[in-house]
């Protein structure tokens, strides 16, 4: 089948752009969310509100913002990133970051408030407290990562604007679906949509299994002897 050689680079680019964006958003978002939950940050409520507002950012608005930032006359135009994968990653990080930080914040705030004090009493440094609490809130943290991945792998507005849907360079699954639909190639568009859904399902399944494995390792128990 001669569609596969055309499809494979699109799938790989979709996965790499969203994968890198998710990794960056996770690395920044988890500590950021935990920091806001745990530390007396000045203007905490304002930052929380900003993050929660960011969770609802329309991707096309993010795309427009990044476009203006990276356009030749923009403040970061000298990077020469417009219509390249780094521009798409930048836009997707902006979309995913508030989601990861906001949901991590909620997850950490939902833990028993006494736990933090008890960890400190056991000699945990502030950083050790933060990572332990993120581990304790792992269900919420996992939800944050899954939700963020879902939002960026499926978004089209931002990557279309800043990537330009250039064949072989910036075409990803969602922009390819838009293109094929516009050209009346509904069969191919549906096939691409199916590929996107299948990929999302497989990755979410893998993420959820990874989370469950961590829990199972902790919970694997011998039969409890009677007392």
């Amino acid at each position: 089948m001669d569609v596969l050689p055309q499809l494979l680079p699109i799938i790989l680019l979709s996965l790499s752009v969203s994968g890198v964006a998710l990794a960056i958003a996770t690395l920044i978002g988890l500590p950021l969310g935990a920091l806001l939950a745990l530390r007396p940050v000045p203007g905490k409520r304002f930052w929380e509100l900003l993050i929660y507002t960011g969770m609802g950012l329309p991707p096309v608005v993010v795309g427009l913002f990044v476009y203006l930032l990276l356009s030749r006359s923009g403040p970061l135009g000298w990077l020469g990133w417009l219509f390249t994968a780094p521009a798409m990653i930048t836009a997707q990080v902006i979309i995913a970051l508030p989601m990861v930080a906001g949901l991590a914040l909620t997850a950490v705030e939902g833990l028993d408030p006494s736990l933090r004090l008890q960890l400190r009493a056991l000699g945990a440094s502030p950083n050790q407290v933060m990572w332990t609490l993120l581990g304790e809130a792992r269900s919420g943290v996992l939800s944050a990562i899954v939700a963020a991945f879902g939002s960026i792998i499926s978004e089209v507005g931002a990557v279309m604007l800043v990537g330009g849907n250039i064949e072989g360079q910036t075409r990803v699954l969602t922009t390819a679906i838009v293109l094929e639909t516009r050209q009346g190639e509904f069969g191919l568009a549906l096939a691409l949509g199916t590929v996107l859904l299948t990929l999302t399902f497989i990755i979410n399944y893998w993420l959820v299994r990874a989370g469950q494995r961590r829990e199972t390792a902790a919970w694997r128990a011998e039969a409890r002897p009677g007392r």
């Binding site: 440094s125 902790a218 694997r220």
Partner: protein
């Protein structure tokens, strides 16, 4: 010279602690000696748990001077100082891990090998058979014993206990009291415990202090505290009367 008397592990002078402008602790002076077992008794809201948080360096005093081994304690104490002391709380919150991993947690924090000490601590509290159990499946008494094990495995210089046997059955109360007593008498660990149970204070402590309204009403060797209290409020408290 403002250091406490020779041998005093803690020295508190004119220490106060307030939350939102409300004073909950106001201690003129308190010295805690190395290796002693000090019980703090008093009604709820007397400032006992607040005092334990200060002694564990989890919070700084609002005013006054807190010294440990003769050295003033900074508002943000260094980690090595924090790690000399640990607290077992009335309602322990265990991590969503196995009992063994919970006990090993403090060692991992310190970058120490998780070795036979964990098994020894579990054996000490009688939980070795449940080591691989998820901690959240333990009963209340077992949870408290696991919390005690995760503190003991660290071999702390000071063990603080915040009503460690409240709401526990007699079996677990006896077990925990025996372990605490052994830790203090055989291993020389300084113990400061908060308890509502005056009988427990009498069984375990070498000195007993009564806190009322954030102030230390009386601090005396256990026998004197119970047999010949100087303050009428202490006498009333010992008799089981309500004092405020």
């Amino acid at each position: 010279m403002t250091t406490g008397p020779a041998g005093a592990l803690y020295s508190l002078r004119a220490v106060t602690k307030s939350y939102a402008g409300r004073a909950v602790l106001d201690l003129a002076a308190l010295e805690i000696e190395r290796g002693e077992a000090l019980a703090l008794v008093g009604p709820s809201g007397a400032g006992k748990s607040t005092l334990l948080r200060l002694l564990n360096f989890l919070e700084p005093p609002s005013a006054g001077e807190l010294r440990f081994r003769g050295q003033p304690v900074a508002a943000e104490p260094p980690l090595d100082l924090l790690r000399r002391v640990t607290t077992v709380f009335q309602r322990p919150v265990l991590l969503q891990q196995s009992v063994r991993d919970n006990v090993a947690y403090g060692l991992k924090l310190r970058g120490l090998a998780v070795d036979g000490r964990v098994d020894a601590a579990l054996e000490q509290v009688g939980l070795q058979a449940l080591a691989r159990q998820p901690a959240h499946k333990l009963s209340g008494g077992e949870m408290q014993r696991a919390a005690l094990a995760r503190a003991l495995v660290l071999e702390p210089e000071v063990l603080l206990l915040d009503e460690p046997t409240a709401n526990l059955d007699p079996y677990n109360v006896g077990l925990i009291e025996r372990i605490v007593s052994d830790q203090n008498r055989a291993r020389g660990t300084t113990v400061v415990m908060v308890t509502h149970n005056v009988f427990q204070a009498r069984r375990l402590a070498t000195r007993v202090g009564l806190l009322l309204g954030g102030q230390l009403v009386e601090l005396a060797p256990t026998d004197l505290f119970f047999e010949a209290p100087r303050d009428p409020r202490t006498a009333a408290f010992v008799r089981g009367e309500m004092v405020y």
